[in-house]
């Protein structure tokens, strides 16, 4: 009798939990009293959205980020055309509060819970792409009501299984491996088209990697996973048992969070004598070679939003995000630059090179308010040889300027 009762109680509890789990997808608009910013972002930018979103929600002026992962060219078209964010095959997700029953103990390294938008959809406030919009061939001219601001730099690369013996790829190898169909490119060991895991031609990962090897993204010869996501590419490469023949395209911040699963190849561009990792070595996180021009597959992240006559975002909460991320500013309890760095991106102020479009030649770049020293100190495993300073006292900087606690060059 007692055991029967226990079984009934347990079954009821399971049923209860199960029902609450099914009923748990809330309406995005009813998540709380905070203002909401609806974002469509490249999936490579999700780590930054999550990290920044957590800080914004916990800040003195709480702000909720609700977002959907979307390919760069697709999200840009949504913004340009005014297409609303809808409930569809790609989940709308939100940054949960610490006491959210759908995400107890949530941290940015965990999946975010889903919410539903109104059945008619909701206007997207901010688009965060992950490569040059000029790489989107079917994008019409940007409406005058919108503006693009250039955010942090995102690097990309070619990943292989942990068991692969390969450690580098040249641009020419990439051209023959990804530009030629099954068995015809003769770029050993990347001969099997079914083992080249790519992204669709509207995804920034495909666009920037393709530009680096001189192949139009629409002509990449490989397999696009069903959902066309970075996670699927990661899993396909990580789980492949054809170690040397398998290769995939990946944003390096996704790779950085999954270094235990796959390897990133060093890349040698056209006209380059050596191949380089994005970082100083395969084990660093400093993006040294992205910042100084030795590693070529990278692009800045465009932030697209509606603006007023002065160029400011019409939505004050969006302008707050732009100030934090694009201008790399810090509030008392939210540091845009710290979240950029922690997300594996490179703020503009830490870059020493620039380019005009995907695959374009590099030129030297001197940021007006450099932060290279700060970046090197703050990045994972970071260290800097820069002189430490305090406040705005430039005395120890020998002609340089004290910024964020370090003597920068100007």
């Amino acid at each position: 009798m007692r055991s029967t009762l226990r079984a009934v109680v347990v079954a009821s509890a399971i049923l209860c939990l199960s029902r609450s789990a099914h009923a748990a997808v809330p309406a995005c608009a009813s998540l709380g009293a905070q203002p909401i910013v609806y974002i469509e972002n490249g999936d490579t930018q999700e780590p930054l959205v999550k990290r920044l979103g957590q800080k914004l929600l916990a800040s003195a002026s709480p702000l909720r980020l609700v977002y959907k992962n979307r390919r760069t060219c697709d999200l840009a078209l949504d913004l340009y055309s005014g297409a609303p964010m809808m409930n569809d095959a790609i989940a709308v997700k939100y940054i949960p509060a610490p006491d959210d029953p759908n995400a107890v103990g949530w941290t940015p390294s965990m999946p975010t819970p889903a919410c539903t938008v109104d059945s008619a959809g909701v206007a997207t406030d901010l688009g965060i792409g992950a490569t040059y919009l000029s790489s989107c061939p079917s994008l019409p001219p940007m409406p005058a009501t919108l503006a693009q601001q250039v955010g942090p730099v995102q690097s990309y690369g070619f990943i292989v299984p942990k068991g692969s013996a390969q450690i580098a790829i040249t641009a020419q190898e990439g051209y023959f491996a990804f530009g030629f169909p099954q068995g015809t490119g003769q770029a050993t060991p990347w001969l099997d088209q079914a083992l080249r895991i790519t992204r669709g031609p509207t995804a920034s990962t495909a666009l920037t990697c393709a530009a680096a090897i001189g192949v139009p993204a629409s002509k990449l010869k490989g397999v696009v996973p069903t959902g066309n996501t970075s996670t699927e590419v990661l899993n396909a490469v990580a789980n492949s048992t054809s170690f040397d023949a398998t290769i995939g395209l990946m944003g390096t911040e996704v790779y950085d969070a999954n270094r235990d699963k796959v390897k990133l190849l060093a890349f040698k561009g056209y006209g380059q004598r050596y191949a380089y990792y994005p970082d100083f070595s395969a084990t660093n996180f400093d993006k040294k070679n992205v910042r100084d021009g030795h590693y070529l597959p990278w692009a800045p992240t465009p932030y697209i939003t509606r603006v007023d006559g002065t160029g400011k975002a019409t939505n004050a909460s969006v302008q707050r995000i732009l100030d934090l991320v694009v201008a790399a500013k810090a509030e008392a309890d939210v540091s845009g630059i710290d979240e950029i760095i922690a997300s594996g991106l490179v703020p503009e102020c830490a870059m020493g090179v620039e380019r005009a479009f995907d695959g374009a030649d590099l030129a030297l770049y001197a940021p007006p308010a450099p932060c290279a020293c700060y970046f090197e100190a703050k990045v994972a495993q970071g260290a800097t040889k820069c002189t430490v300073c305090t406040g705005t006292d430039d005395t120890p900087c020998g002609g340089g300027k004290c910024r964020r606690g370090y003597c920068e060059v100007r």
Partner: protein, 111 residues
Amino acid sequence: MMRTYARAMGLAVGLALVVVPAVIISACDDSGSAIKESPVTPTPPGGGGTPVVDAGPGTDGSTTADSGPSDCVMKPQTHLEIINACTDAVKITKNPTLPLLLPDGGLPPLP
């Protein structure tokens, strides 16, 4: 018994001292400073070059005054100079054999 063992160990250590450096030296290319992918012998048809990885800071002999032809640029200005600028970062030599390259080293059009 012990003496024989010690002699064998001595021979093994001696052999290792000769063979290991020889293998390391033979793995270096003309740059003498970069890390290569594990040397492959023979080179497989269609490429699979033999990348070599630089050991890091201070090993790039090209930056010294009397080291002969430079393989890096000290004060880069142009794109080609920037991507080949001198650096202490790890670098990898890889020059694969790609059968479809044109005789002048150019790329054939995509199919």
